[in-house]
């Protein structure tokens, strides 16, 4: 029978572990959002590139910078769009690796929490079960 003090210690540890897990999950969701944005922009840029390729040499290209429409050279515009596409693909790749790391960390943390949960004294099922339930719902989200 573990003493109440030890029990509380374990509880606190469980809570901290659960918080870490939450943080990691938030990071993952943020990562997802940024990735989504980049993906959309990448798609748009690819469409623009396709249209620019279809243009003849003497067509006028303008870029909207703030309230100003600035005339641009076709070649320049092509180059800019291509560079953007490259930059965005690199960003996406970076985000992918970060996401992978976060997920791994999340899994390991989850296992640790589960382990902690099972080794807890069964007399006090309230907090632990709450923690684990909380963890389950957050994972699902």
């Amino acid at each position: 029978m573990a003493s109440p003090a030890a029990l509380r210690e374990l509880q606190r540890e469980l809570e901290t572990k659960a918080d870490d897990l939450n943080k990691i999950q938030k990071d993952i969701s943020k990562n997802h959002q940024v990735r989504k944005k980049y993906t959309i922009q990448l798609g748009e840029n690819e469409l623009v590139l396709k249209e620019l390729d279809l243009l003849s040499e003497d067509a006028n290209v303008y870029k909207l910078i703030g309230p100003v429409l600035v005339k641009q050279d076709l070649a320049e515009a092509n180059a800019n769009v291509r560079k953007r596409i490259e930059y965005m693909s690199a960003e996406l790749k970076r985000l992918d690796t970060t996401l992978q790391d976060l997920e791994d960390k999340q899994n390991s943390k989850r296992d640790a929490v589960c382990l902690k949960g099972t080794t807890e004294d069964p007399i006090t099922p309230g907090r632990e079960s709450q923690g684990i339930v909380y963890f389950h719902t957050s994972v699902r989200a």
Binding site: Q41, E44, N45, L47, V48, E51, L52, L55, A59, N60, V61, Y62, K63, L64, I65, L69, Q72, A77, V81, R84
Partner: protein
């Protein structure tokens, strides 16, 4: 009872798929489905905007300038003029605009419309999948709620390995039900194997007797095989009777499954028989080579048609309709057979019978027969008419050719020697030695009413 003999496991479905979870899954899928639907609506809005824009862009260059009300700020307009009506600044994305004419703008917009359409298609596909998922979950949930039970039993049958235990989707059949089916199937299996062996013997006999014979010898051979055919047909009759009984006892689905199985066997047997028919027809003169080919094609096509019909009929029970139709077609063919200059009509009729879902291969056979005999005295022109017809039928039922395993064994037989008749199987009368074409057709019509649910008829010529 038989149940005790078989091992069985009874599992309540609720244990496999808990009711609440299934319902939750249904709800989740429904939510995602509604999301997708709203996205679909958005896409539809985009597409309609795009089409409106295309129309506008096409209309503007119609005038040098247009008088319009120009928006000014948030809530004001002033009258103005729209000039340079053929110059458009098109937004390509990412802040890039390009000057284009009306036609070029329309092209850009059309490309955008296509991209939107493809997105809509993919979204629709996803929605379909989700719907299927939702329905599955719904069914599982309801079944589990009802307390449906899954019963698994081992099937002990040497010959017939296809009819394994009824696993997978749960059914509410009592165990003894499946036993009776299996027993019946076993009985039919034995008969089938007997008939197969018999057919093998017949094939060998006729193949050996095939080379270098005249036509009358063919008939002799044919007469010899007649007896064997008679025996086989009696066997077939028995099987049919059994199936008829089974039909009225069992449920429809099981019937169809079983009958499909039996039909396959019948199909194999018919294919076998036709092969045997073809064998005796070896070389009988080069002048008839073309005819032979056509006949071979016809026989093959009629085989295929018959196989096709048999399989299709196992799915539908349209006995009365078929009887009437066959009667009509039969009388028609009788007339045309006599005339012989009605080649086209025959092909049309063959077409008709090919199109209608009739499992009466004998009709096709008799048609084929009439046409065949017509061909023997026909002109090349008629053959030309016939050949494309044959090709159609060949293509239509080519898949069944591959199914019949017995076909592969005899690639080199000559159609001339084959018995180019169709085989009519009669449930109650055995008329195996009839040799007139017209007579057989009338006979077939007579016997049809007596056996409304006969799946196929093999007419002997």
């Amino acid at each position: 009872m038989e149940e005790a003999a078989k091992k069985g496991r009874v599992t309540p479905l609720a244990s496999l798929f808990p009711v609440e979870e299934a319902q939750k899954a249904v709800r989740r899928v429904h939510e995602t489905l509604s999301e997708k639907e709203s996205e679909l609506d958005r896409f539809r809005g985009f597409i309609s905007d795009n089409t409106n824009l295309i129309n506008l862009v096409q209309k503007l260059p119609e005038g040098l300038h247009h008088n319009i009300m120009v928006p000014f700020g948030k809530a004001a307009f002033f009258p103005g003029r729209l000039i340079h009506t053929n110059e458009f600044l098109v937004l390509l994305g990412e802040g890039y605009h390009v000057e284009r004419t009306s036609k070029q703008t329309v092209e850009i917009l059309k490309r955008r419309g296509k991209a939107l359409q493809s997105q809509v298609e993919s979204l629709k596909a996803t929605m379909q999948d989700l719907k299927a998922e939702a329905s599955f979950f719904g069914i599982t949930a309801s079944e589990a709620a009802e307390g449906l039970v899954e019963i698994r039993e081992d099937y002990v049958e040497e010959n017939f390995t296809e009819r394994e235990s009824q696993s997978g989707p749960p059914k509410e059949h009592p165990p003894s039900f499946s036993e009776a089916d299996k027993v019946k199937v076993a009985v039919e299996d034995e008969e089938y194997s007997c008939m197969v062996s018999r057919l093998d013997e017949l094939e060998k006999a006729e193949y050996e007797a095939g080379y270098g014979n005249e036509t009358h010898e063919d008939i002799e051979n044919v007469a010899v095989s007649d007896e064997e055919y008679a025996r086989m047909m009696s066997r077939l009759d028995e099987l049919e009777k059994e199936e008829l009984e089974a039909e009225f006892v069992n449920e429809r689905d099981e019937d169809n499954a079983k009958l499909a199985v039996n039909d396959e066997k019948y199909a194999h047997m018919i294919a076998r028989l036709d092969e045997i028919e073809k064998e005796p027809e070896t070389e009988c003169g080069n002048e008839r080579d073309e005819d032979e080919k056509i006949k071979a094609d016809f026989d093959q096509s009629s085989d295929q048609i018959s196989l096709d019909k048999i399989n299709r009929f196992s799915e539908e029970y349209q006995s009365r309709k078929l009887l009437e139709q066959t009667k009509d077609k039969k009388s028609a063919t009788e007339e045309t057979l006599d005339k012989r200059d009605t080649q086209k009509d025959l092909t049309d009729r063959l077409n008709c019978t090919g199109l209608t879902v009739q499992s009466r291969p004998k009709e096709e056979m008799s048609h084929g027969k009439g046409l065949v005999h017509g061909i023997m005295k026909s002109t090349p022109l008629e053959k030309a008419l016939v050949l494309p017809e044959v090709k159609e039928n060949v293509q239509a039922a080519s898949s069944l050719r591959s199914e019949a395993p017995l076909q592969d064994s005899k690639p080199g037989f000559d159609s001339r020697k084959a018995f180019t008749g169709s085989i009519i199987e009669r449930a109650h009368n055995m008329q195996t030695s009839s040799s007139q074409q017209a007579a057989t057709s009338s006979q077939s019509t007579v016997t049809q009413p007596s056996k409304p649910v006969s799946r196929f008829k093999m007419q002997r010529r």
